[in-house]
Point group: C2
Chain length 339, copies 2
């Protein structure tokens, strides 16, 4: 330590090491790539979003992910050598250990060595996980204290996904596909789901399901403030529009949202009976927009449907991370593995 | 080792130790207590069954369990000092570590120190687990080789229970109630369940559900061979009677059983999507009686409903342990802990 020469050499190395403190979290799906830059304390200091363009093929998407990372780093006035690791949440079944996307139907991907490809493009260590597990992990690491042993994340947006934290770590099962809560059949004679089955949770309570119900009713003459707000074809309807309509007294929209909340409560009761988690966290775009309208109904319905012994002491809460759950969670393993 | 005196002393101790090789497995529920005596290789050499008589209260039930164990040991011409440990599967939420039944609604029990009470009565170490976990563990230890990392047991009888083996060990969750597959809502507008909800898996596919459907149809004039076999009020109908009627060509009974098998397949698809197990084992009285009639339909329906990526390589099989799954599984921790 006292020797000047050694000190200089180490000093140069340390200088470069000290700079490599930032962590990048990437959340990508069929539609968009979102990248966040995080401090070691997991504070997000900047974000960049681009579209995925899955139709252009695997290589093009991987290049777009790399470009999104480079853009985000640049946007924060940083250089890549100040980044110590990159975490990424991918949609579908993921082999975390080997950094491969096993299959991702939304992207048309099968066995893609994403970790290796991105490490080649970005020259930084990359850590891969499933996107829903990653969202749960983001909530788990930044919003829960003390940490529960068993947590369940349910993310409601265009679709519905879930992530399980069991015994303190993400659980993905034999085929690495666990947590597929959205396609739990709740109503065997219910509406057709995109997956081909009927009455899946996602076909009953996702944004898509609510919008479809509203559009069908409007076609049959249902009156709603939404048509005055958005036009008769309800173009560009967003989750926030439902909230606005409800707050302005639209009983029809209120009923649609209430029903979705009830279905969500039943799904969560099923999950609590099955897995006995300590905490259930709700997230995603629908919860971000309609938390006040939905959470109390979800909790009440879950309590009505779950076994008293299974739901005793269980917290059902909503995440404040919103769209940032994925990038935050993606940063978690990257931070841990590069410590 | 060479000293004669020491040799004699140790010899006497070893003699008594060598005798303590048998393991007792107890499976008790709201109706009956079943006790099995097992060799160290988990071969069952004798069984005794008595009724639970839950209405007589906790102390009386505990005494009956102890008596059932003593009777089973005696029936095998053994003495209690030849028993090295007793495992017991109890219905409800169980604190394995402290040996307490946290709550068991079927028995009206709350926080019962069953391990301690039985150890006092039987003077042998007692190991407690949840009854459905225990059944899964029995199948896991004696029927599966190599051992899968994640397994799901579904037991269909009067009711429907489940047990999860995740990461190679029983999973019970925060409230120790996990695995409650029977009360997963599958058909929100379906028949009323004993639990108060509608359309639970158990209300659609258990023996109770099938019998109820048959009885209701017969009341409305449905013809079936069962009335010729059992009389018009279908007194003492058993699962095996359904098999007999089907084999004699009763299309109505066949349809009832097929529908139950389809519901079971959908439930299993939900569970595979959620938990991605490698093996799903079906057991219980219904499967023991109607395996040939149900298993193929269950597997086909599960493959139709589950995600291809989640069900890939997953085995859905039925257990041959029948009613012995519980006692066998109960013996597993007792064997392990007294090694």
């Amino acid at each position: 330590m006292g020797a000047d020469k050694l000190g200089q050499t180490l000093g140069a190395m340390a200088d470069s090491n000290q700079k490599s403190e930032y962590i990048v979290g990437v959340d990508f799906g069929g539609t968009k790539v979102l990248t966040g830059i995080f401090t070691p304390g997991l504070k997000c200091i900047g974000k960049t979003k681009i579209s995925t363009k899955a139709q252009r093929g695997t290589d093009a998407v991987i290049e777009r992910i790399a470009r999104c990372v480079l853009d985000a780093v640049d946007e924060c006035d940083l250089k890549m050598d100040q980044v110590r690791g990159i975490g990424i949440g991918a949609p579908g079944a993921v082999d975390t250990e080997n950094g491969r996307v096993i299959f991702a139907p939304n992207l048309g991907w099968e066995d893609v060595p994403l970790k290796k490809a991105l490490e080649k493009l970005l020259d930084r260590p990359v850590f891969l996980e499933n996107d829903c597990n990653i969202c749960s992990l983001g909530v788990y690491e930044t919003e829960l204290d003390p940490k529960p042993r068993h947590m369940l994340g349910v993310f409601i947006g265009t679709g519905i996904g879930g992530g399980l934290i069991l015994d303190g770590k993400p659980y993905s099962g034999y085929n690495r596909t666990a947590g597929e809560v959205g396609h739990m059949v709740l109503d065997i004679n219910g509406p057709k789901c995109g997956c081909g089955n009927k009455g899946c949770f996602e076909a009953l309570a996702s944004r898509t399901a609510m919008f479809r119900r509203i559009q069908a009713a409007v076609k049959e003459g249902q009156e709603t403030l939404l048509t005055a707000m958005l036009g008769k074809d309800l173009a560009d309807m967003r989750s926030g529009d439902l909230r606005k309509a409800i707050r302005r007294g639209d009983k029809f929209v209120e009923k649609v949202v209430e029903e979705a909340a009830e279905y969500t409560g039943i799904a969560i009761a099923n999950l609590i009976n099955l897995l006995s988690p300590q905490v259930v966290v709700l997230g995603g775009g629908i919860m971000a927009a309609l938390d006040d309208e939905m959470l109390a109904i979800i909790v009440e319905t879950a309590r009505e449907y779950a076994f008293p012994g299974a739901i005793k002491g269980v917290e059902i809460i909503s995440s404040n991370l919103g769209d940032d759950a994925g990038i935050t969670g993606a940063a978690v393993p990257a931070r841990r593995e590069t410590r």
